[in-house]
């Protein structure tokens, strides 16, 4: 990395941290620290909500997803706008009316203390793990491609976030997220236009779309009812709806963003902002990935984008096999360029038969390329059982480091680290708040003053920061990082969402029935995930429906036995 990149990266991150600390110094009480004094405007809330969801994984993994599997992943977000509307209609007015600090505080009023404690505990388990992964995900990738020490990078990201989150609380989180979103969008736009400028002169944006389309990268919508297919229109609109409803409606890392709103209206508009911009933003990030794919039709690409995987196989007994495969890959790339040029020329001439013929040729070459990449993965797996063969998360960073000019590399690395910091900050902020208010304060037999709880909230935020760094330091890589976070969410979210829906809509169900149903549901969902009963996205809907049904049955049984409800 050049000095200019280091300067841009370092100064961007230090400015964000410094500004966050300076701008939000001196929180006087818990209300100031946890809810930003309830003075946030809708655009601050909207940007904060978006920055919380968009972690570094989003910017590393999503373009790689489009590169390998096309842009169908955008369907995952189709349920999100509907979820935003339900939250604006039902959740926000009630949260605001009850003047709660946390989402789970509301559950005590509706059910009982043990239900509040249970949901707070479920949140701490899943969000605590997720916070570690949010730090770990960019660290493992950046350390692999840049040769930086993984543990040091985990600690640096963690400490930078801890500094301003512990110091300024929710206000520091939202103030810094505005700048982080600006850096992120600026970096992605620069990268996008740079890619377009790197195409051969006869390849316009329109032609690049045609090339991506001919290679099945623009298969954005899939209306089939295949439950084994992870991303379809239907799984997005139903499973994605439940996941978004649970995440934005019941996850404190998001709820805390809009609870800081000046009024119900400001909080609602913040989520409307997200409902309008989320899908275009994800589409744009996927489009960057599709354009990276077109870029590599004219430029050499490695057989596997993970440098650690290539290194592992090069140092093994499979070296000769891998080198032979690389030579075949080089030849295939030459063939690919000729085929893309033929396709491009056919498009110019608008000859239908020639276009179809060139397309068939491209599809054949793609199948060969996919087969050779799969063989490369098999060789890597034989060479090392520990190294990650799935290189989706490495495609975009490989492109950044090998093709972007000096300066832009530093900016894009700042994008990735800013995204990691913005998500982690919201998570630590929420974890500290829940531990301090839902567990410590609520169960403290000797009530203390506001200053004490302010100090406790800061202390727990710091503690969760240290735990997140520790988790990041011991984590190991899964199939695809973005999916890992979603899988963890899907295991817990459905259950928690069901509890909230019971609270809002089914007044006859009491605390005991909900508590028993929630415990049983969580065990069944974990078994279901372990036994692979369904695609993980459906676990949200499954957990949600199951807890509601079990609560109905338990309540009916309780009524039948004539027990007086405990509220």
């Amino acid at each position: 990395m050049a000095l200019l990149d280091w300067i841009i990266l370092g100064s961007t991150l230090l400015f964000i941290v410094g500004y966050g600390v300076w701008k939000t110094r001196g929180s006087k009480n818990v209300d100031d620290y946890v809810l930003s004094g309830n003075d946030a405007k809708w655009w601050t809330i909207g940007l904060s909500v978006m920055a919380t969801q968009a972690s570094a994984i989003t910017f590393l993994s999503t373009p790689g997803q489009a590169f390998h599997d096309g842009m169908g992943f955008v369907q995952f977000y189709f349920g999100l706008p509907l979820a935003m509307i339900v939250i604006c209609l039902v959740f926000i007015p009630i949260y605001k009316k009850l003047k709660v600090f946390t989402a789970y505080e509301m559950l005590e009023g509706r059910f009982d203390l043990k239900t509040r404690t249970l949901t707070a505990f479920l949140f701490l388990v899943q969000r605590g793990l997720a916070a570690g992964i949010t730090i770990f995900a960019p660290s493992i990738i950046l350390s692999a491609v840049l040769g930086w020490d993984l543990r040091t990078l985990n600690i640096i990201i963690g400490i930078l976030v801890i500094i301003y989150t512990v110091s300024g609380g929710t206000k520091a989180v939202s103030v810094t997220q505005k700048q982080q979103m600006f850096i992120i969008m600026m970096g992605m736009f620069f990268a996008f236009f740079f890619i377009l400028g790197s195409f051969p002169t006869d390849v316009s944006f329109g032609k690049a779309l045609k090339i991506a389309g001919a290679n099945n990268k623009l298969d954005i919508l899939d209306f089939t009812f295949d439950t084994n297919n992870r991303y379809t229109f239907w799984s997005g609109i139903t499973g994605g709806f439940f996941l978004a409803l649970a995440y934005f409606g019941t996850d404190q890392s998001q709820v805390q963003r809009y609870l800081s709103g000046k009024s119900v209206r400001e909080s609602q508009l913040g989520l409307i902002f997200n409902g309008i911009l989320k899908i275009p933003m994800q589409f744009f990030i996927l489009l960057v990935g599709a354009m990276v794919f077109v870029f590599y039709q004219y430029n050499p690409s490695p057989l596997n984008f993970n440098p650690a995987a290539t290194e592992a196989v090069m140092e093994s007994e499979y070296l000769d096999d891998y080198k032979a495969l690389e030579e075949d890959h080089l030849e295939l790339e030459m063939e690919k360029r000729i085929a893309q040029n033929a396709f491009s020329a056919a498009l110019e001439l608008k000859e239908y038969n020639a276009i179809q013929q060139a397309k068939q040729n491209i599809i054949k070459i793609n199948e060969k390329e996919r087969a050779s990449r799969d063989t490369a993965k098999e060789l890597i797996e034989k060479a090392s059982t520990t190294v990650e063969t799935n290189d989706k998360d490495y495609v975009f960073i490989h492109f950044i480091l090998n093709n972007l000019p000096t300066g832009l590399i530093g900016l894009l690395l700042a994008v990735i680290l800013s995204a990691a910091m913005s998500s982690t900050a919201s998570e630590l902020n929420a974890l500290g708040t829940i531990t301090a208010l839902d567990l410590y304060k609520r169960n403290n037999k000797n009530p203390k003053g506001d200053k004490h709880y302010l100090f406790a909230t800061k202390g727990f935020t710091l503690l969760w920061g240290i735990i997140a760094i520790a988790i990041a330091c011991v984590a190991s890589l899964f199939d695809n990082l973005i999916q890992l976070v979603n899988i963890i969410g899907s295991i817990f979210y459905g259950n928690v969402l069901g509890i909230f829906l019971l609270a809002f809509f089914f007044k006859f169900v009491k605390g005991n029935a909900v508590f028993v149903a929630a415990i049983v549901t969580q065990i069944i969902v974990i078994i279901g995930w372990y036994m692979d009963w369904m695609s993980y996205l459906w676990l949200n809907a499954f957990g949600c429906v199951l807890v509601i049904i079990l609560a109905f049955i338990t309540q009916a049984f309780d009524n039948f036995l004539g027990n007086s409800p405990i509220e």
């Binding site: 189709f78 209609l89 509706r110 919508l221 409307i272």
Partner: protein, 38 residues
């Protein structure tokens, strides 16, 4: 915290209609991008 506070009127606002309409338009645009480039 009283349970009565949970009883809130759900008020539909024009912004929600805009969200639905805009997202339907996005999906239509995606559909056209897909079929025009395949």
């Amino acid at each position: 915290m009283s349970k009565d506070n949970m009883n809130t009127k759900f008020e539909w606002k024009k912004e929600y209609t805009i969200v639905i309409l805009l997202n339907m338009i996005y999906i239509l645009i995606f559909y056209f991008i897909m079929i025009l480039n395949n």
